[in-house]
Amino acid sequence: MPESVAGLVLIPLTWAGLAFALGPGRGGRAALAGLVVQGGLALQLAMAVNDRRSAHVAAGGWDAPLGIELAVDGLSATMLLLTQLIGLSLVIYARAYFGAADPERRYFWPLVGLLIAGLNALFITADLFNAYVTLEIVGLAAVGLVGAGGEAQRVGAALRYLFATLLGSAFYLLGVALMYGAYGTVSFSSLAPLLTAEMSVAVLMAGGLMLAGLMIKSALLPFHGWLPPAHGSASTPVSALLSALVVKAAFYLILRLWLDLFAAQAAPLAWLPALLGACAVLWGSWRAITAVRLKMLVAYSTVAQLGYLFLVFPLLAGAAAMQAVVMQIVAHGLAKAAMFAAAGVLVSASRQDRVAGLQGMAHHLPLTIAAFALAGVTLMGLPPSAGFLAKWLLIQSAFAAGQWGIVAVVLAGGLLAAVYVFRVLRQALMEAPTARPISPVPRTLEWVAFALAGASVLLGFRAGDLLGLLTPGVPG
């Protein structure tokens, strides 16, 4: 058990270092091998969590007040599984996507290794400060990935992203400093009993600062301005990684703090993230509907889909809400990775990036269009996809809590998603000659996109196993 927890951080660091030592553009094979092992470890961990309730590991044998405490429960095991699965698929995609001379490829492998190590470390961390360090590792690696390749537009987007992510972590760390000042500890397990209903103003401020910082990092409206340029202009495997996993990391931490530390005090404020989330669903969808470039459409769809995650906070008293949010994280992770992968194929094949220039693509790339459509099914929330289950559970818990506004937002969001997905499909299915001659695309790219999209739909049938992880011991 401690070995697999440590392995999930050490293995990606090892192949990242190896890739860096091998020199620019090399190390893809090591990444592939490493991720296969990590996938096995994550699966092993998930099964262990399923049998016993949760697991604590003291890194290096040092316990909580001094040492770094690691903990794995159902939520972290799910995030770990999702990270390895999407990481593995996108590494296969990236190996086929980058040409030998592409400048984006030069430092891709070391940075991806760091990114995945940071994500894994974040999901197993059980103290506030360690969470800050992992957030920074993830943030800096992600900025490096966006800027790699280096034309002006990308570098501008990377800088904007860097300032946003630094600002977010600065707010978060100021909150951590106040918490430490008040209680003299940053470990979740020591803090939880101290945070009773009677809280000083300093602690409330600390909670507010941490929440604000993490909202910037998870691109919740009105802090979403950095996301579309960064995700829209990065190279495709990077966009997919960022949209599917990196923004979820900050959300995961919000959820963890909310549930483990601030549950009782934060409840009266739950309407705030939900309101912002509702605005994000509507505004993000609207910008996706009006976007000119295909990858910007997909990036704004991420802004909208992240909004759903924040709708859940007023409903957390009911058991179904937690299942809804985990289902939405997994469904959106798989579907958005698939959608970016498919969009990347369409952009390279048609040699242009505008939605209006996609006519006739379905004739040449039926598999990719099918992948895009299947991912769209999940984002719209049509049965039997995992996205349907997520929205169904969300609506169910909103009904139970009498929150009609949330029901309306979820339904409206689904319709708006249908509009932007069909905007692309209508153009691609048009029986017209393509704007420019099609350039050949490796089949691997198409199959990876299709597999990810298929997984996001088929997961709807195996949801019981996944949701069972959240309540270990109870058969799913």
Binding site: L66, F129, Y132, V133, E136, L140, V143, G144, G147, G150, E151, A152, Q153, V155, G156, A158, L159, R160, L162, F163, L166, L167, A170, L173, L174, V176, A177, L178, Y180, G181, G184, G225, P228, P229, G232, R287, T290, A291, V292, R293, M296
Partner: protein, 100 residues
């Protein structure tokens, strides 16, 4: 006012100055410098606020060391990116958001 409060209030003021700089300054180098001012304020709060019987608490000092490493890395990355942007376009501020 106890010494820990002096540190904390000074730190928060520095944080606010840095924050204003990051949001208002258009020149990218000023933004990077403002981030460092903000970071210094942050570290001052982290080190200065927790005191035990008038003595500084050693644990946050270890945290601040980590924080300084992160801040140096972030500054280096920001400088590399803005040099690249300057070399490519001659711009010293962020380009306007284009797209839709």
């Amino acid at each position: 006012m106890s010494s820990s409060m002096v540190f904390a209030v000074t730190g928060v003021l520095l944080f606010a100055i840095g924050l204003a700089g990051m949001l208002i300054a258009a020149h990218l180098l000023r933004k990077v410098l403002a981030f460092n001012v903000l970071g210094s304020g942050l570290f001052l709060v982290l080190v200065g606020l927790p005191q035990r019987d008038g003595m500084a608490d050693p644990v946050p000092q270890a945290m601040v060391l980590t924080g300084i490493v992160v801040a140096v890395a972030a500054t280096a990355l920001a400088l590399a990116l803005l040099r690249r942007l300057h070399a490519l376009t001659g711009a010293t501020s962020l380009p306007r958001d284009t797209d839709a």
